[in-house]
Symmetry: C2
Subunit: 347 residues, 2 copies
């Protein structure tokens, strides 16, 4: 089969690789119908996050089950399924508590020895614990299918940020980051009842999506000017809940600074700025909490899926370009230079 392989910084190739196959009785093989490129893939693409040359890449996909191992009972060949961006056994303490990202048997698509999502098919470990079934009729509805693809990561991650930031009905929320996760954070905050949502961003196509997702205000400034603008919009106090969806030192610094005293920053941007942006003294003096991390998408997919199917949320607008497998390297380039927001892959 063909799949996306990362050989080094800026070196993404689509190559022939061994066919995905059941290796353990708890495995399933899923033929990929839709996959996509994540903002977090760019850390590897840019060489900031280390990868072994030849590792697969891509951690967001949905598709049709092709084959299952002898111990798989939750899905059957022919089922339409979505995978969260980590696999998990479904039976350990953490999985039962809804923190599947801490499953001791879990793993991340594309890690050495595993398939990545940006390919023709994927071997799914612990299929019963990992995969979530989708209604078969979704297969013929491209808009719906695209919205469901967002559940594998960005919508679930935006939701995690909103929960971690403590968004409640009536909250004033600020969202740092106008990528797909930040935009889904806006959608998640509105879904949780936020009254006011300030989106920080200056890229018009993105801020328009933010407004359509529920942002009531847009702040185009950066750094200290952004902080001042958010303070001004919030009576000098800042936002109860701040969603940090970038992961740099500057974004963390901004996020903590625009949180209201006693509020919280829900951070889901993979932290690449180290702890430098975490101003602990400011957090201490103002009782600003820092919560978040890698989103247990598997825990959130069922409830978010219900809302997507019911038409209450539609994250599909975050996808603004589509490529086939041959187009994946171009897709990375487009996301890297920000000419594309999020690239969908139809293998």
């Amino acid at each position: 089969m063909r799949a996306t392989v990362i050989h080094g910084p800026n070196d993404i190739r689509v190559e022939e690789v061994p066919d995905a196959a059941v290796r353990h009785p708890t495995d399933a093989v899923v033929r990929v119908v839709l996959a996509c490129i994540c903002g977090s893939d760019l850390w590897a693409y840019r060489g900031v996050a280390a990868r072994q040359p030849g590792q697969r890449i891509g951690h967001e996909f949905l598709g049709v089950v092709e084959e299952v191992g002898s111990e798989v009972s939750g899905v059957r060949p022919g089922d339409l399924v979505v995978a969260p961006f980590v696999w998990s056994d479904g039976v350990c303490d953490y999985c039962r508590e809804g923190l599947q990202t801490s499953c001791p048997h879990g793993g991340f698509w594309g890690e050495p020895g595993s398939d990545g999502g940006q390919g023709e098919a994927v071997r799914v470990p612990f299929a019963d614990g990992t995969l979530v079934g989708l209604p078969a009729e979704a297969a013929s509805d491209e808009r719906l299918l695209t919205a469901l693809l967002a559940l594998s990561d960005v919508m679930a991650t935006g939701h995690h940020a909103a929960l971690a930031a403590g968004v409640r009905p009536g909250s004033t929320v600020a969202v740092v980051g106008d990528g797909a996760v930040g935009l889904c954070g806006v959608l998640a905050a509105r879904r949780l009842g936020a009254e006011r949502i300030v989106a920080l961003g200056r890229h018009q196509a993105r801020t328009e999506i933010a407004r359509s997702f529920g942002a009531t205000d847009v702040v185009a400034e950066r750094g200290d000017e952004a902080i001042a603008a958010v303070k001004e919009l919030t009576g000098g106090q800042g936002a109860h809940a701040v969603l940090e969806a970038v992961g740099t030192e500057q974004s963390m610094r901004t996020a903590l600074s625009i949180a209201r005293d006693g509020g919280a920053v829900g951070y889901v941007g993979v932290p690449h700025g180290g702890s430098a942006g975490v101003d602990i003294r400011q957090m201490f003096d103002r009782n600003v909490a820092l919560r978040g991390g890698v989103a247990p998408a598997r825990a959130y997919i069922p409830e978010l899926l219900a809302d997507v199917l019911a038409g209450r949320i539609d994250p599909s607008p975050v996808f603004d370009r589509t490529v086939d497998l041959d187009g994946v390297p171009d897709g990375y380039r487009a996301m890297d230079d920000r000419s594309a927001l999020k690239v969908r892959i139809k293998p």
Copy 2:
């Protein structure tokens, strides 16, 4: 009157200062019956926290109201009262929400222009917002009065750590720091229903208090060995809730490392290690939250007071030495060399 003044590192003196007096209609003057020295005073004593030479010091006291300004209606001369370690106006958004430490009119005892608690009397700004009345009969019960003194800071701060760490009935808790705040954190965790409480400390007199306050286990190791010991006690997972009551880089590093995935560190140690101990990548990967800060003691005193009066909690054992005003410099030395846990002052 006489009061404690800090002139520089290791230079604490008791001197004649202007009498405390009502300056604003919202002021009261409180004659100090009991005060004490705080572990956080040692940061100033050691020169780590900057003070202007000649600043007053001491932020924990209870006493009898001597005089009130014309706009004070909540307390009267003769009332026995306790002060939280910051004053606050009692009417702003933050005060009404219970985050009095963020009151825009608030301040910290001993800051330039204000009296400190370690003296004969204190001018209390915003007396109605700040002071909490105590039953008059407590004045004749020295043990009870000592327990009530702990409400001004250490008991309220231990409670804040426990709340911030999310202690719930059944929680497994670990407490980093065997000072008075850490010990009160043990008491607070037990009060909130923790099932298992691991106290980290190696000073026998202190760990004995920890056990009497509800600690089920004591870990005497430090650093990596302490982390391993807590992991071993908790089935390899760590504690749901970790109370950090020190404020150094090492203590924060230990606290985050012994938190269970998905758990939280409630930190109340004034952070003097900067953000170096905040391992954001570890927090991210394991969804460990960091919450806490300066405790809004004023918000907690009423409920904690009720429990002290009812005999449900007794933090008085954290005081292990008593001095008069002349003995205050000796008290600082004793706390600095850890020969005293917490020094009570009878002016």
